[in-house]
Amino acid sequence: MLNSKNKKVSIILIIIAVVYLLASFRLPDYPYVPVDSDMVPKTLGFILLFLSILLFFVKDDAEKKQSIPKSEIKVILTVLAFVLIYILLFEIIGFVITTALFILITSWFLGYKGWVSNIIVSISIPLVIYLLFTQFLKVQLPAGILPF
Protein backbone atom coordinates (compact mmCIF):
# COMPACT_ATOMS: atom_id res chain seq x y z
CA MET A 1 0.00 0.00 0.00
CA LEU A 2 2.79 2.41 0.87
CA ASN A 3 4.66 1.84 -2.32
CA SER A 4 5.02 5.50 -3.26
CA LYS A 5 7.27 8.03 -1.58
CA ASN A 6 4.43 10.52 -1.23
CA LYS A 7 2.32 8.03 0.67
CA LYS A 8 5.11 7.28 3.13
CA VAL A 9 5.83 10.96 3.67
CA SER A 10 2.15 11.66 4.01
CA ILE A 11 1.82 9.14 6.84
CA ILE A 12 4.75 10.70 8.70
CA LEU A 13 3.26 14.17 8.24
CA ILE A 14 -0.14 13.01 9.47
CA ILE A 15 1.52 11.68 12.61
CA ILE A 16 3.31 15.02 13.10
CA ALA A 17 0.04 16.89 12.61
CA VAL A 18 -1.81 14.71 15.12
CA VAL A 19 0.90 14.99 17.76
CA TYR A 20 1.06 18.76 17.25
CA LEU A 21 -2.73 19.02 17.50
CA LEU A 22 -2.81 16.98 20.70
CA ALA A 23 -0.18 19.27 22.19
CA SER A 24 -2.17 22.33 21.03
CA PHE A 25 -5.30 21.12 22.78
CA ARG A 26 -3.37 20.69 25.99
CA LEU A 27 -2.04 24.26 26.10
CA PRO A 28 -3.04 26.04 29.32
CA ASP A 29 -5.70 28.77 29.20
CA TYR A 30 -4.99 32.43 29.70
CA PRO A 31 -8.40 33.94 30.32
CA TYR A 32 -7.67 37.64 29.77
CA VAL A 33 -7.24 37.76 26.00
CA PRO A 34 -9.97 37.29 23.38
CA VAL A 35 -7.81 34.96 21.30
CA ASP A 36 -5.69 32.54 23.29
CA SER A 37 -2.34 30.99 22.42
CA ASP A 38 -3.92 27.78 21.12
CA MET A 39 -5.95 29.22 18.24
CA VAL A 40 -3.22 29.53 15.63
CA PRO A 41 -1.53 26.19 16.48
CA LYS A 42 -4.87 24.37 16.22
CA THR A 43 -5.52 25.95 12.85
CA LEU A 44 -2.04 25.03 11.64
CA GLY A 45 -2.46 21.47 12.87
CA PHE A 46 -5.66 21.02 10.90
CA ILE A 47 -4.17 22.62 7.79
CA LEU A 48 -1.21 20.24 7.92
CA LEU A 49 -3.54 17.30 8.46
CA PHE A 50 -5.60 18.33 5.44
CA LEU A 51 -2.56 18.89 3.22
CA SER A 52 -0.96 15.59 4.28
CA ILE A 53 -4.12 13.70 3.38
CA LEU A 54 -4.13 15.44 0.00
CA LEU A 55 -0.50 14.48 -0.51
CA PHE A 56 -1.40 10.85 0.09
CA PHE A 57 -3.33 10.85 -3.15
CA VAL A 58 -0.81 12.76 -5.23
CA LYS A 59 1.33 10.75 -7.60
CA ASP A 60 5.10 10.99 -7.22
CA ASP A 61 6.70 13.38 -9.67
CA ALA A 62 8.30 11.12 -12.17
CA GLU A 63 10.95 13.29 -13.69
CA LYS A 64 13.03 14.00 -10.60
CA LYS A 65 13.98 10.58 -9.32
CA GLN A 66 17.02 10.84 -7.14
CA SER A 67 18.89 7.80 -6.05
CA ILE A 68 21.89 7.69 -3.79
CA PRO A 69 24.36 4.83 -4.04
CA LYS A 70 24.85 2.83 -0.85
CA SER A 71 28.53 3.67 -0.53
CA GLU A 72 27.69 7.37 -0.52
CA ILE A 73 25.17 6.89 2.27
CA LYS A 74 27.94 5.41 4.35
CA VAL A 75 30.12 8.44 3.66
CA ILE A 76 27.33 10.83 4.67
CA LEU A 77 26.60 8.92 7.85
CA THR A 78 30.27 8.88 8.79
CA VAL A 79 30.57 12.64 8.30
CA LEU A 80 27.39 13.04 10.33
CA ALA A 81 28.97 10.98 13.09
CA PHE A 82 32.10 13.16 12.96
CA VAL A 83 29.94 16.27 13.28
CA LEU A 84 28.05 14.86 16.26
CA ILE A 85 31.27 13.89 18.03
CA TYR A 86 32.67 17.34 17.26
CA ILE A 87 29.63 19.01 18.82
CA LEU A 88 29.68 16.72 21.85
CA LEU A 89 33.30 17.54 22.59
CA PHE A 90 33.04 21.20 21.51
CA GLU A 91 32.56 22.69 24.98
CA ILE A 92 34.43 19.99 26.88
CA ILE A 93 37.74 19.94 25.03
CA GLY A 94 37.40 23.42 23.60
CA PHE A 95 37.01 25.10 20.25
CA VAL A 96 40.57 25.09 18.95
CA ILE A 97 41.43 21.44 19.48
CA THR A 98 38.09 19.95 18.41
CA THR A 99 37.90 22.15 15.35
CA ALA A 100 41.45 21.35 14.31
CA LEU A 101 40.84 17.62 14.68
CA PHE A 102 37.51 17.87 12.89
CA ILE A 103 38.95 19.66 9.86
CA LEU A 104 41.95 17.35 9.74
CA ILE A 105 40.02 14.09 10.01
CA THR A 106 37.03 15.05 7.87
CA SER A 107 39.16 16.45 5.06
CA TRP A 108 41.31 13.35 5.12
CA PHE A 109 38.31 11.05 5.22
CA LEU A 110 36.73 12.80 2.23
CA GLY A 111 39.88 12.29 0.24
CA TYR A 112 42.22 15.20 0.85
CA LYS A 113 45.68 13.71 0.74
CA GLY A 114 48.00 16.67 1.17
CA TRP A 115 49.02 16.05 4.74
CA VAL A 116 51.23 19.08 5.20
CA SER A 117 48.73 21.61 4.00
CA ASN A 118 45.94 19.78 5.77
CA ILE A 119 47.74 20.04 9.08
CA ILE A 120 48.62 23.67 8.50
CA VAL A 121 45.06 24.63 7.63
CA SER A 122 43.59 22.56 10.45
CA ILE A 123 45.74 24.30 13.01
CA SER A 124 45.86 27.83 11.65
CA ILE A 125 42.18 28.37 10.83
CA PRO A 126 40.81 27.48 14.28
CA LEU A 127 43.57 29.52 15.93
CA VAL A 128 42.94 32.58 13.78
CA ILE A 129 39.18 32.37 14.31
CA TYR A 130 39.63 31.83 18.02
CA LEU A 131 41.88 34.84 18.40
CA LEU A 132 39.61 36.93 16.21
CA PHE A 133 36.57 36.10 18.33
CA THR A 134 38.06 36.23 21.80
CA GLN A 135 40.60 39.01 21.41
CA PHE A 136 39.10 41.33 18.85
CA LEU A 137 35.35 40.73 18.93
CA LYS A 138 35.37 39.93 22.65
CA VAL A 139 33.02 37.05 22.00
CA GLN A 140 33.93 33.93 23.95
CA LEU A 141 34.35 30.56 22.32
CA PRO A 142 34.85 27.56 24.59
CA ALA A 143 38.49 27.44 25.68
CA GLY A 144 38.16 23.90 27.00
CA ILE A 145 41.38 22.36 28.18
CA LEU A 146 43.61 24.99 26.64
CA PRO A 147 44.82 27.60 29.13
CA PHE A 148 43.76 30.66 27.09
Partner: protein, 501 residues
Amino acid sequence: MGVFEGILTGFQVVFSLEGLLFVFLGALTGTLIGMIPGLGPITAIAVMIPITYGMNPAMALLLMAGVYYGAAYGGAASSILLNAPGESMSVPTTFDGYPLAKQGKAGKALAIAAIASFVGGTISVILLTLLTPVLAQLAISFGPTEYFALMLMGLVMVSSLADGSTIKALISATLGFMIATIGIDAQTGTQRFTMGNVNLLEGIDFLVIALGLFALAEVSNLIFERKQSTDFTSKLGSLRLNKEEVKEMAGPMGRQSILGFLIGVLPGAGGTIASFLAYISEKRLSKKPHEFGKGSVAGLAAPEAANNGASTGSFVPLLSLGIPGSGTTAVMLGALVVLGVQPGPLLMNEHPDVFWGVIASMYIGNVILLILNLPLIPYLSKILKIPRPMLISLIIVFCIIGVYGVGFRTFDLFLLVLFGVIGFFMAYLNFPAAPMLLAFILGGMMEQSLRQALTISNGSLLIFFEKPITVALLTVALISFVVPIFRNWRRKKEDKQTLSG
Protein backbone atom coordinates in the same frame (compact mmCIF):
# COMPACT_ATOMS: atom_id res chain seq x y z
CA MET B 1 19.11 74.06 7.55
CA GLY B 2 18.19 73.10 4.03
CA VAL B 3 18.86 69.72 2.56
CA PHE B 4 21.80 70.80 0.44
CA GLU B 5 23.40 72.89 3.09
CA GLY B 6 22.96 69.98 5.45
CA ILE B 7 24.41 67.36 3.24
CA LEU B 8 27.37 69.65 2.56
CA THR B 9 28.02 69.89 6.29
CA GLY B 10 27.89 66.13 6.41
CA PHE B 11 30.38 65.73 3.61
CA GLN B 12 32.78 68.17 5.24
CA VAL B 13 32.96 65.80 8.18
CA VAL B 14 33.46 62.78 6.00
CA PHE B 15 35.98 64.14 3.54
CA SER B 16 39.04 64.15 5.69
CA LEU B 17 41.88 61.69 5.51
CA GLU B 18 40.89 60.39 8.91
CA GLY B 19 37.25 60.08 7.91
CA LEU B 20 37.98 58.14 4.75
CA LEU B 21 40.38 55.90 6.61
CA PHE B 22 37.74 55.02 9.17
CA VAL B 23 35.11 54.26 6.54
CA PHE B 24 37.63 52.11 4.73
CA LEU B 25 38.71 50.18 7.83
CA GLY B 26 35.08 49.79 8.84
CA ALA B 27 34.06 48.45 5.45
CA LEU B 28 36.94 45.99 5.47
CA THR B 29 36.28 44.76 9.00
CA GLY B 30 32.56 44.62 8.32
CA THR B 31 33.02 42.54 5.20
CA LEU B 32 35.14 40.07 7.10
CA ILE B 33 32.77 39.85 10.05
CA GLY B 34 29.75 39.60 7.79
CA MET B 35 31.23 36.69 5.90
CA ILE B 36 31.14 34.53 8.99
CA PRO B 37 27.65 33.07 9.16
CA GLY B 38 25.89 34.27 12.27
CA LEU B 39 27.80 37.50 12.47
CA GLY B 40 25.68 40.00 10.60
CA PRO B 41 25.44 43.78 10.82
CA ILE B 42 23.92 43.59 14.32
CA THR B 43 26.82 41.78 15.89
CA ALA B 44 29.31 43.76 13.85
CA ILE B 45 27.96 47.02 15.21
CA ALA B 46 27.51 45.65 18.73
CA VAL B 47 31.17 44.67 18.93
CA MET B 48 32.19 48.08 17.60
CA ILE B 49 30.46 49.92 20.45
CA PRO B 50 33.14 49.38 23.08
CA ILE B 51 35.83 50.15 20.50
CA THR B 52 34.30 53.48 19.51
CA TYR B 53 33.79 54.43 23.12
CA GLY B 54 35.61 57.72 23.66
CA MET B 55 36.16 58.32 19.95
CA ASN B 56 35.10 61.47 18.15
CA PRO B 57 31.38 60.82 17.43
CA ALA B 58 31.63 61.76 13.77
CA MET B 59 34.54 59.40 13.20
CA ALA B 60 32.82 56.67 15.17
CA LEU B 61 29.75 57.03 12.98
CA LEU B 62 31.84 56.72 9.86
CA LEU B 63 33.43 53.59 11.21
CA MET B 64 29.98 52.19 12.00
CA ALA B 65 28.58 53.04 8.59
CA GLY B 66 31.51 51.23 7.00
CA VAL B 67 31.03 48.22 9.25
CA TYR B 68 27.30 48.22 8.61
CA TYR B 69 27.53 48.15 4.84
CA GLY B 70 30.53 45.87 4.93
CA ALA B 71 28.72 43.33 7.08
CA ALA B 72 25.67 43.38 4.83
CA TYR B 73 27.87 42.74 1.82
CA GLY B 74 29.88 40.07 3.61
CA GLY B 75 26.60 38.28 4.33
CA ALA B 76 25.83 38.24 0.64
CA ALA B 77 29.24 36.76 -0.04
CA SER B 78 28.70 33.78 2.26
CA SER B 79 25.21 33.29 0.80
CA ILE B 80 26.60 33.21 -2.72
CA LEU B 81 29.75 31.22 -2.13
CA LEU B 82 28.64 28.75 0.52
CA ASN B 83 24.83 28.81 0.39
CA ALA B 84 25.08 30.00 4.00
CA PRO B 85 22.90 33.06 4.60
CA GLY B 86 24.08 34.87 7.70
CA GLU B 87 20.78 36.60 8.36
CA SER B 88 17.20 36.39 7.27
CA MET B 89 17.32 39.12 4.67
CA SER B 90 20.07 37.45 2.67
CA VAL B 91 18.16 34.19 2.26
CA PRO B 92 16.79 35.14 -1.19
CA THR B 93 20.35 35.97 -2.21
CA THR B 94 21.15 32.27 -2.04
CA PHE B 95 18.36 31.33 -4.46
CA ASP B 96 20.23 32.50 -7.54
CA GLY B 97 23.60 33.51 -6.13
CA TYR B 98 24.62 30.01 -5.13
CA PRO B 99 23.56 28.39 -8.42
CA LEU B 100 25.64 31.01 -10.23
CA ALA B 101 28.64 30.21 -8.06
CA LYS B 102 28.15 26.51 -8.71
CA GLN B 103 28.21 27.16 -12.43
CA GLY B 104 31.66 28.65 -11.96
CA LYS B 105 30.46 32.22 -12.13
CA ALA B 106 31.19 33.17 -8.53
CA GLY B 107 33.00 36.32 -9.55
CA LYS B 108 30.10 37.46 -11.64
CA ALA B 109 27.63 36.69 -8.86
CA LEU B 110 29.65 38.62 -6.32
CA ALA B 111 29.97 41.52 -8.73
CA ILE B 112 26.20 41.57 -9.32
CA ALA B 113 25.63 41.53 -5.56
CA ALA B 114 28.13 44.33 -5.05
CA ILE B 115 26.65 46.48 -7.79
CA ALA B 116 23.07 45.79 -6.72
CA SER B 117 23.96 46.60 -3.12
CA PHE B 118 25.60 49.78 -4.24
CA VAL B 119 22.66 50.83 -6.40
CA GLY B 120 20.13 49.86 -3.73
CA GLY B 121 22.14 51.66 -1.08
CA THR B 122 22.67 54.78 -3.12
CA ILE B 123 19.16 55.20 -4.48
CA SER B 124 17.76 54.75 -1.02
CA VAL B 125 20.21 57.19 0.58
CA ILE B 126 19.09 59.77 -1.95
CA LEU B 127 15.48 59.05 -0.99
CA LEU B 128 16.48 59.23 2.66
CA THR B 129 18.13 62.61 2.14
CA LEU B 130 15.16 64.14 0.37
CA LEU B 131 12.18 62.47 1.98
CA THR B 132 12.93 61.69 5.62
CA PRO B 133 10.59 64.30 7.12
CA VAL B 134 7.79 63.34 4.73
CA LEU B 135 8.19 59.62 5.35
CA ALA B 136 8.17 59.89 9.12
CA GLN B 137 4.39 59.72 8.95
CA LEU B 138 4.47 56.60 6.78
CA ALA B 139 6.78 54.95 9.26
CA ILE B 140 4.20 55.07 12.02
CA SER B 141 1.14 54.49 9.85
CA PHE B 142 1.25 50.71 10.24
CA GLY B 143 -0.68 49.12 13.09
CA PRO B 144 -1.25 45.44 13.91
CA THR B 145 -3.89 45.02 11.20
CA GLU B 146 -1.65 46.48 8.49
CA TYR B 147 1.24 44.28 9.57
CA PHE B 148 -1.00 41.25 9.60
CA ALA B 149 -2.15 42.00 6.06
CA LEU B 150 1.42 42.57 4.88
CA MET B 151 2.65 39.29 6.36
CA LEU B 152 -0.34 37.46 4.94
CA MET B 153 0.43 38.85 1.51
CA GLY B 154 4.01 37.60 1.85
CA LEU B 155 2.85 34.16 2.97
CA VAL B 156 0.32 33.81 0.18
CA MET B 157 3.10 34.38 -2.31
CA VAL B 158 4.83 31.29 -0.94
CA SER B 159 3.49 29.21 -3.78
CA SER B 160 5.60 31.28 -6.18
CA LEU B 161 8.70 29.91 -4.51
CA ALA B 162 7.79 26.38 -5.50
CA ASP B 163 9.11 25.09 -8.75
CA GLY B 164 7.35 21.80 -8.48
CA SER B 165 4.35 20.73 -6.51
CA THR B 166 2.29 23.47 -4.89
CA ILE B 167 1.06 21.12 -2.24
CA LYS B 168 4.59 20.33 -1.13
CA ALA B 169 5.37 24.04 -0.92
CA LEU B 170 2.28 24.55 1.24
CA ILE B 171 3.22 21.68 3.53
CA SER B 172 6.70 23.08 3.82
CA ALA B 173 5.27 26.49 4.73
CA THR B 174 2.85 25.04 7.29
CA LEU B 175 5.70 23.21 8.99
CA GLY B 176 7.74 26.43 9.04
CA PHE B 177 4.85 28.30 10.65
CA MET B 178 4.53 25.51 13.22
CA ILE B 179 8.19 25.82 14.14
CA ALA B 180 7.60 29.53 14.70
CA THR B 181 5.00 28.74 17.37
CA ILE B 182 7.59 27.06 19.59
CA GLY B 183 8.54 29.10 22.65
CA ILE B 184 6.89 31.56 25.03
CA ASP B 185 3.87 33.19 23.44
CA ALA B 186 4.25 36.96 23.59
CA GLN B 187 0.57 37.76 24.10
CA THR B 188 -0.08 35.39 26.99
CA GLY B 189 3.27 34.26 28.33
CA THR B 190 2.21 30.64 27.74
CA GLN B 191 4.94 28.15 26.96
CA ARG B 192 4.15 26.38 23.72
CA PHE B 193 5.69 23.11 22.54
CA THR B 194 8.86 23.64 24.57
CA MET B 195 8.69 20.19 26.15
CA GLY B 196 10.00 21.75 29.33
CA ASN B 197 13.32 22.60 27.74
CA VAL B 198 14.65 26.04 28.75
CA ASN B 199 16.62 26.20 25.53
CA LEU B 200 13.39 26.39 23.58
CA LEU B 201 11.69 29.12 25.66
CA GLU B 202 12.76 31.88 23.30
CA GLY B 203 11.98 29.75 20.28
CA ILE B 204 14.40 28.49 17.67
CA ASP B 205 16.71 31.03 16.14
CA PHE B 206 16.35 31.79 12.47
CA LEU B 207 20.00 31.06 11.81
CA VAL B 208 19.76 27.49 13.11
CA ILE B 209 17.07 26.77 10.57
CA ALA B 210 18.59 28.69 7.67
CA LEU B 211 22.06 27.22 8.01
CA GLY B 212 20.66 23.74 8.60
CA LEU B 213 18.19 23.74 5.71
CA PHE B 214 20.44 25.54 3.25
CA ALA B 215 24.12 25.24 4.04
CA LEU B 216 24.30 21.87 5.80
CA ALA B 217 21.84 20.20 3.44
CA GLU B 218 23.95 21.50 0.55
CA VAL B 219 27.03 20.00 2.18
CA SER B 220 25.60 16.56 1.50
CA ASN B 221 25.42 17.45 -2.20
CA LEU B 222 29.01 18.62 -2.09
CA ILE B 223 29.95 15.31 -0.54
CA PHE B 224 28.35 13.38 -3.40
CA GLU B 225 30.12 15.58 -5.90
CA ARG B 226 33.45 15.67 -4.12
CA LYS B 227 35.18 13.50 -6.68
CA GLN B 228 34.00 15.49 -9.65
CA SER B 229 36.86 17.46 -11.00
CA THR B 230 36.62 21.03 -9.78
CA ASP B 231 38.24 22.49 -12.82
CA PHE B 232 36.68 25.89 -12.70
CA THR B 233 37.99 27.83 -15.60
CA SER B 234 39.78 31.09 -15.13
CA LYS B 235 36.36 32.73 -15.40
CA LEU B 236 35.66 31.89 -11.78
CA GLY B 237 36.98 35.15 -10.48
CA SER B 238 36.00 37.21 -13.49
CA LEU B 239 33.59 40.01 -12.74
CA ARG B 240 32.79 40.89 -16.28
CA LEU B 241 29.12 41.35 -17.04
CA ASN B 242 27.91 41.55 -20.59
CA LYS B 243 25.51 44.16 -21.90
CA GLU B 244 22.49 41.90 -21.78
CA GLU B 245 23.12 41.05 -18.16
CA VAL B 246 23.44 44.70 -17.25
CA LYS B 247 20.21 45.41 -19.05
CA GLU B 248 18.52 42.51 -17.36
CA MET B 249 19.45 43.67 -13.88
CA ALA B 250 18.89 47.39 -14.35
CA GLY B 251 15.10 47.32 -14.14
CA PRO B 252 14.84 45.02 -11.13
CA MET B 253 17.54 46.93 -9.30
CA GLY B 254 15.87 50.28 -9.80
CA ARG B 255 12.38 49.11 -8.87
CA GLN B 256 13.40 47.01 -5.93
CA SER B 257 15.69 49.66 -4.44
CA ILE B 258 12.70 51.97 -4.14
CA LEU B 259 10.25 49.30 -3.03
CA GLY B 260 12.80 47.95 -0.56
CA PHE B 261 13.35 51.42 0.83
CA LEU B 262 9.63 51.97 1.36
CA ILE B 263 9.17 48.62 3.09
CA GLY B 264 12.25 49.29 5.17
CA VAL B 265 10.72 52.50 6.44
CA LEU B 266 8.09 50.42 8.27
CA PRO B 267 9.41 49.39 11.66
CA GLY B 268 9.35 45.60 11.94
CA ALA B 269 10.58 43.04 9.52
CA GLY B 270 11.72 45.42 6.77
CA GLY B 271 14.75 43.80 5.20
CA THR B 272 13.46 40.24 5.11
CA ILE B 273 10.06 41.04 3.69
CA ALA B 274 11.62 43.46 1.23
CA SER B 275 14.07 40.93 -0.15
CA PHE B 276 11.53 38.11 -0.39
CA LEU B 277 8.95 40.37 -2.01
CA ALA B 278 11.58 41.66 -4.41
CA TYR B 279 12.49 38.15 -5.42
CA ILE B 280 8.92 36.99 -5.83
CA SER B 281 7.69 40.06 -7.67
CA GLU B 282 10.64 40.04 -10.08
CA LYS B 283 10.01 36.38 -10.76
CA ARG B 284 6.46 37.26 -11.72
CA LEU B 285 7.48 40.26 -13.79
CA SER B 286 10.37 38.51 -15.51
CA LYS B 287 10.25 37.35 -19.09
CA LYS B 288 12.38 34.41 -18.05
CA PRO B 289 10.84 33.19 -14.79
CA HIS B 290 12.12 29.68 -15.45
CA GLU B 291 15.67 30.96 -14.90
CA PHE B 292 14.84 32.00 -11.34
CA GLY B 293 16.42 29.63 -8.89
CA LYS B 294 18.88 28.43 -11.48
CA GLY B 295 21.19 31.39 -11.61
CA SER B 296 19.14 34.31 -12.81
CA VAL B 297 20.91 37.65 -12.89
CA ALA B 298 17.71 39.53 -12.07
CA GLY B 299 16.89 37.04 -9.32
CA LEU B 300 20.15 37.88 -7.58
CA ALA B 301 20.17 41.61 -8.20
CA ALA B 302 16.59 42.21 -7.02
CA PRO B 303 16.80 40.97 -3.41
CA GLU B 304 20.27 42.48 -2.94
CA ALA B 305 19.08 45.90 -4.08
CA ALA B 306 15.94 45.54 -1.98
CA ASN B 307 17.62 44.56 1.24
CA ASN B 308 20.11 47.38 0.98
CA GLY B 309 17.26 49.74 0.22
CA ALA B 310 15.39 48.44 3.24
CA SER B 311 18.43 48.72 5.51
CA THR B 312 18.70 52.36 4.59
CA GLY B 313 14.94 52.83 4.85
CA SER B 314 15.01 51.58 8.43
CA PHE B 315 17.03 54.68 9.29
CA VAL B 316 14.01 56.88 8.53
CA PRO B 317 12.12 56.08 11.74
CA LEU B 318 15.38 56.09 13.69
CA LEU B 319 16.57 59.48 12.49
CA SER B 320 13.21 61.19 12.26
CA LEU B 321 11.40 59.75 15.27
CA GLY B 322 13.98 57.99 17.38
CA ILE B 323 12.19 54.69 16.77
CA PRO B 324 14.53 51.83 15.88
CA GLY B 325 12.71 49.91 13.16
CA SER B 326 15.02 46.90 13.02
CA GLY B 327 17.43 44.96 15.15
CA THR B 328 20.33 46.68 13.49
CA THR B 329 19.02 50.19 13.98
CA ALA B 330 18.23 49.30 17.61
CA VAL B 331 21.89 48.50 18.14
CA MET B 332 22.80 51.60 16.15
CA LEU B 333 20.65 53.61 18.53
CA GLY B 334 22.56 52.10 21.41
CA ALA B 335 25.80 53.08 19.71
CA LEU B 336 24.63 56.66 19.21
CA VAL B 337 23.60 56.89 22.84
CA VAL B 338 27.06 55.81 23.89
CA LEU B 339 28.49 58.53 21.68
CA GLY B 340 26.38 61.05 23.54
CA VAL B 341 23.70 61.54 20.90
CA GLN B 342 20.13 60.55 21.70
CA PRO B 343 18.26 60.03 18.45
CA GLY B 344 14.74 61.35 18.65
CA PRO B 345 12.28 63.55 16.86
CA LEU B 346 14.51 66.55 17.50
CA LEU B 347 17.76 65.05 16.26
CA MET B 348 17.64 66.89 12.95
CA ASN B 349 17.31 70.25 14.66
CA GLU B 350 19.44 69.72 17.73
CA HIS B 351 22.29 67.73 16.20
CA PRO B 352 22.26 68.52 12.48
CA ASP B 353 25.92 67.53 12.28
CA VAL B 354 25.13 64.02 13.44
CA PHE B 355 22.00 63.73 11.33
CA TRP B 356 23.74 64.80 8.15
CA GLY B 357 26.95 63.07 9.17
CA VAL B 358 25.13 59.74 9.29
CA ILE B 359 23.61 60.35 5.88
CA ALA B 360 26.85 61.53 4.31
CA SER B 361 28.68 58.54 5.73
CA MET B 362 26.15 56.29 4.03
CA TYR B 363 26.97 57.78 0.63
CA ILE B 364 30.66 57.35 1.29
CA GLY B 365 30.23 53.91 2.86
CA ASN B 366 28.49 52.68 -0.27
CA VAL B 367 31.13 54.03 -2.61
CA ILE B 368 34.07 52.80 -0.54
CA LEU B 369 32.53 49.40 -0.26
CA LEU B 370 32.17 49.10 -4.00
CA ILE B 371 35.74 50.27 -4.56
CA LEU B 372 37.00 47.95 -1.88
CA ASN B 373 35.05 44.88 -2.84
CA LEU B 374 35.30 44.73 -6.60
CA PRO B 375 39.07 44.12 -6.46
CA LEU B 376 38.58 41.61 -3.65
CA ILE B 377 36.14 39.50 -5.65
CA PRO B 378 38.74 37.43 -7.52
CA TYR B 379 40.29 36.50 -4.17
CA LEU B 380 36.96 35.77 -2.50
CA SER B 381 35.89 33.55 -5.37
CA LYS B 382 39.01 31.49 -4.93
CA ILE B 383 37.46 30.14 -1.77
CA LEU B 384 35.70 27.80 -4.17
CA LYS B 385 39.05 26.60 -5.44
CA ILE B 386 39.82 25.10 -2.09
CA PRO B 387 39.78 21.34 -2.69
CA ARG B 388 36.31 19.94 -2.07
CA PRO B 389 37.09 17.77 0.97
CA MET B 390 38.67 20.72 2.72
CA LEU B 391 35.91 23.10 1.65
CA ILE B 392 33.28 20.73 3.03
CA SER B 393 34.85 20.53 6.47
CA LEU B 394 35.37 24.31 6.53
CA ILE B 395 31.72 24.99 5.65
CA ILE B 396 30.60 22.74 8.47
CA VAL B 397 32.91 24.53 10.88
CA PHE B 398 31.65 27.94 9.76
CA CYS B 399 28.04 26.88 10.28
CA ILE B 400 28.85 25.64 13.74
CA ILE B 401 30.64 28.83 14.71
CA GLY B 402 27.79 30.91 13.35
CA VAL B 403 25.14 29.07 15.32
CA TYR B 404 27.22 28.87 18.46
CA GLY B 405 27.73 32.62 18.29
CA VAL B 406 23.98 33.19 18.53
CA GLY B 407 23.20 31.25 21.68
CA PHE B 408 26.55 30.00 23.01
CA ARG B 409 25.20 26.53 23.69
CA THR B 410 25.62 23.13 22.13
CA PHE B 411 21.88 22.53 22.18
CA ASP B 412 21.56 24.83 19.16
CA LEU B 413 24.31 22.90 17.41
CA PHE B 414 22.36 19.67 17.70
CA LEU B 415 19.29 21.47 16.38
CA LEU B 416 21.41 22.74 13.50
CA VAL B 417 22.36 19.19 12.60
CA LEU B 418 18.73 18.13 12.95
CA PHE B 419 17.67 20.80 10.47
CA GLY B 420 20.52 19.75 8.22
CA VAL B 421 19.10 16.24 8.19
CA ILE B 422 15.58 17.56 7.61
CA GLY B 423 16.90 19.72 4.77
CA PHE B 424 18.61 16.71 3.26
CA PHE B 425 15.41 14.69 3.24
CA MET B 426 13.40 17.63 1.95
CA ALA B 427 15.76 17.99 -0.99
CA TYR B 428 15.63 14.25 -1.57
CA LEU B 429 11.82 14.24 -1.54
CA ASN B 430 11.51 17.45 -3.60
CA PHE B 431 10.07 19.58 -0.82
CA PRO B 432 11.23 23.19 -1.31
CA ALA B 433 13.00 24.63 1.74
CA ALA B 434 12.44 28.32 1.04
CA PRO B 435 8.69 28.33 1.92
CA MET B 436 9.49 26.75 5.27
CA LEU B 437 11.95 29.49 6.09
CA LEU B 438 9.71 32.28 4.81
CA ALA B 439 6.73 30.99 6.79
CA PHE B 440 8.93 30.66 9.85
CA ILE B 441 9.99 34.30 9.54
CA LEU B 442 6.61 35.76 8.64
CA GLY B 443 4.40 33.36 10.58
CA GLY B 444 5.52 34.37 14.02
CA MET B 445 4.95 38.05 13.34
CA MET B 446 1.69 37.38 11.56
CA GLU B 447 0.24 35.49 14.49
CA GLN B 448 1.33 38.15 16.96
CA SER B 449 -0.11 41.05 14.96
CA LEU B 450 -3.36 39.15 14.39
CA ARG B 451 -3.79 38.62 18.11
CA GLN B 452 -2.67 42.14 19.01
CA ALA B 453 -5.35 43.46 16.70
CA LEU B 454 -8.01 41.20 18.18
CA THR B 455 -7.08 42.12 21.75
CA ILE B 456 -7.36 45.80 20.88
CA SER B 457 -10.73 45.26 19.17
CA ASN B 458 -11.98 43.04 22.04
CA GLY B 459 -12.21 40.13 19.63
CA SER B 460 -14.09 41.85 16.81
CA LEU B 461 -12.92 40.97 13.30
CA LEU B 462 -14.32 44.25 11.97
CA ILE B 463 -11.03 45.92 12.87
CA PHE B 464 -9.54 44.37 9.71
CA PHE B 465 -11.97 46.28 7.50
CA GLU B 466 -11.68 49.68 9.09
CA LYS B 467 -8.40 50.87 7.62
CA PRO B 468 -7.76 51.51 3.92
CA ILE B 469 -4.17 50.19 3.89
CA THR B 470 -5.25 46.97 5.57
CA VAL B 471 -8.09 46.46 3.15
CA ALA B 472 -5.84 47.16 0.18
CA LEU B 473 -3.16 44.73 1.32
CA LEU B 474 -5.73 42.04 2.12
CA THR B 475 -7.21 42.47 -1.34
CA VAL B 476 -3.80 42.00 -2.94
CA ALA B 477 -3.28 38.90 -0.82
CA LEU B 478 -6.66 37.53 -1.87
CA ILE B 479 -5.95 38.18 -5.54
CA SER B 480 -2.53 36.54 -5.37
CA PHE B 481 -4.20 33.55 -3.77
CA VAL B 482 -7.14 33.20 -6.12
CA VAL B 483 -5.62 34.06 -9.50
CA PRO B 484 -3.15 31.14 -9.72
CA ILE B 485 -5.88 28.70 -8.68
CA PHE B 486 -8.24 30.13 -11.27
CA ARG B 487 -5.54 29.99 -13.93
CA ASN B 488 -4.78 26.38 -13.05
CA TRP B 489 -8.42 25.51 -13.23
CA ARG B 490 -8.80 27.14 -16.63
CA ARG B 491 -5.71 25.45 -17.94
CA LYS B 492 -7.05 22.09 -16.85
CA LYS B 493 -10.38 22.83 -18.47
CA GLU B 494 -8.64 23.81 -21.68
CA ASP B 495 -6.54 20.68 -21.54
CA LYS B 496 -9.68 18.64 -21.21
CA GLN B 497 -11.29 20.43 -24.10
CA THR B 498 -8.29 19.84 -26.32
CA LEU B 499 -8.28 16.23 -25.24
CA SER B 500 -11.93 15.71 -25.97
CA GLY B 501 -11.83 17.93 -29.05
